[in-house]
Each structure stands twice: as structure tokens, then as C-alpha cells.
């Protein structure tokens, strides 16, 4: 596994993999598990994936980002049971200038959410659980 991890995400090592003294601008996005969803208390989030396809699509997104911007991009997504505060996804983009770093990081996280086959089940304080369907996906289905 290159982009998916069942262990806690190591943002420091990820950043070291793309930082370089020739690239002065580094933008990092961290998506963490929130302790609520629209006010309803959340106790855990369980992520699952279609592993081989998720790895392939993450690789494609990284490659496409490198074509669109003069930036080096890294990406990790956590799988398994996470609790509020845990990091679920980290995207980092390093470039010579901040425009490219911001744009590449933003584009990659948007594409990850749109294209990578990962799902999550939200567990609430009252014992109930729901599969999460992002608003965009509800409209498309």
C-alpha cells in the first residue's frame, strides 16, 4: 500500500518526502475526524476502501496534478476505525511559488473525495451508525 494506510498518518515523514530547498512553498491539507456531524455527536468513523482501485486512482490523481502544476504532491489516506481528532487524509504540495502549491493541494483533495473508492460509516454517541453519502453524491445518484 502506497497511498492507503491502516496505521496513523505520519504527516512529518510525508512532508519530508516532498520538501526540497528549491521549492519554497509548501501547502498541507489535513482532514481529521470531527466530533459531530451537523450537531449530532460522533464517536467513531470507520473507513473502508476498494484497495487496489483506490491505490490506482490516487496514483492517477498525483500524476495529473504534476502535469497541471509545477508542484510535487504527496497523499495518504487512513483506513479503518478512527476516532474524533484522528487524521483521515493528508495532502501536501510543494512548489517554487505559493499559487501552484495552494492550487495543487486544493485540486488533489477535491479529486480524492470525488474519485477514490473509499467509504465511511459514522458511529454516533447513541449507538446508531450510518453510511455517509456526500451531498454532491446524493444529487448524482
Amino acid at each position: 500500500m502506497r497511498y492507503l494506510s491502516s496505521a496513523p498518518l505520519d504527516t512529518t515523514t510525508l512532508l519530508e518526502s516532498i520538501r526540497d530547498p528549491s521549492r519554497g512553498a509548501v501547502v498541507t491539507f489535513v482532514g481529521a475526524v470531527r466530533n459531530h456531524d451537523g450537531g449530532r455527536p460522533v464517536v467513531a468513523l470507520e473507513y473502508s476502501a476498494y484497495g487496489p482501485m483506490a491505490e490506482a486512482v490516487c496514483g492517477q490523481i498525483i500524476a495529473e496534478a504534476s502535469e497541471r502544476w509545477p508542484a510535487t504532491v504527496a497523499l495518504m489516506h487512513r483506513i479503518g476505525r478512527l476516532v474524533p481528532g484522528d487524521d483521515a487524509v493528508v495532502v501536501a504540495a510543494a512548489a517554487s511559488h505559493r499559487d501552484a502549491a495552494f492550487q495543487a493541494a486544493r485540486w488533489v483533495i477535491d479529486e480524492v473525495k470525488r474519485r477514490v473508492p473509499i467509504w465511511k460509516r459514522e458511529h454516533y454517541a447513541d449507538g446508531a451508525a450510518d453510511w455517509i453519502i456526500p451531498p454532491e453524491a446524493v444529487a448524482a445518484e
Partner: protein, 86 residues
């Protein structure tokens, strides 16, 4: 399973779809020239399958595929609930 192996295809199921069918993979009879839509119809005919959408997201060989595409024996097919990563 009396039909030859090439006459059936496995379909991977994930997340809510796996829960609806009670399985992470199902085996579907594959007629010559069948499309992904035909395979989806086969999955929807299984117990619990009627709760799948008519036109779910489908992947073939790790890439998104259109329902009109013809299935080739050996293809890896998967029905994907709406992506929810991040």
C-alpha cells in the same frame, strides 16, 4: 455451478452494497455479449439486490466504466456506492 468458469463473473461489492447483499462478492451468470448493465441486473435479482440503485457506479479492472460496456470474461467488476473519502 455446472456452467464453465468463463460463463460466470464475480462482482465485488463494497460498504453499503456489501451490507445489502450480505456478501463482499457475488457470482453472476454471464451470457455472451452481456453488458455491465446486464450484470447489474443480475446482482439486483439476488436477495437484497433490489435495494441497489438502477444505475450504480461501476468499476471494471480498477477504473470507472459505463454500464453500456460489454463485459469480457476475466474482467474485475465492482459496484461502488457513492465515494466518501476524505
Amino acid at each position: 455451478m455446472t456452467s464453465p468458469q468463463s460463463g460466470r463473473i464475480s462482482v465485488l461489492l463494497f460498504a453499503r452494497y456489501a451490507e445489502l447483499l450480505g456478501a463482499s462478492s457475488v457470482s453472476i451468470e454471464l451470457a455472451p455479449g452481456a453488458t455491465i448493465a446486464d450484470v447489474v441486473a443480475g446482482v439486483r435479482a439476488l436477495p437484497g439486490g433490489d435495494q441497489l440503485p438502477d444505475r450504480p457506479l461501476c468499476a471494471r479492472n480498477l477504473a470507472m466504466a459505463r454500464l453500456e460496456e460489454v463485459v469480457v470474461p476475466g474482467d474485475e467488476l465492482a459496484l461502488l456506492p457513492p465515494m466518501a473519502g476524505g
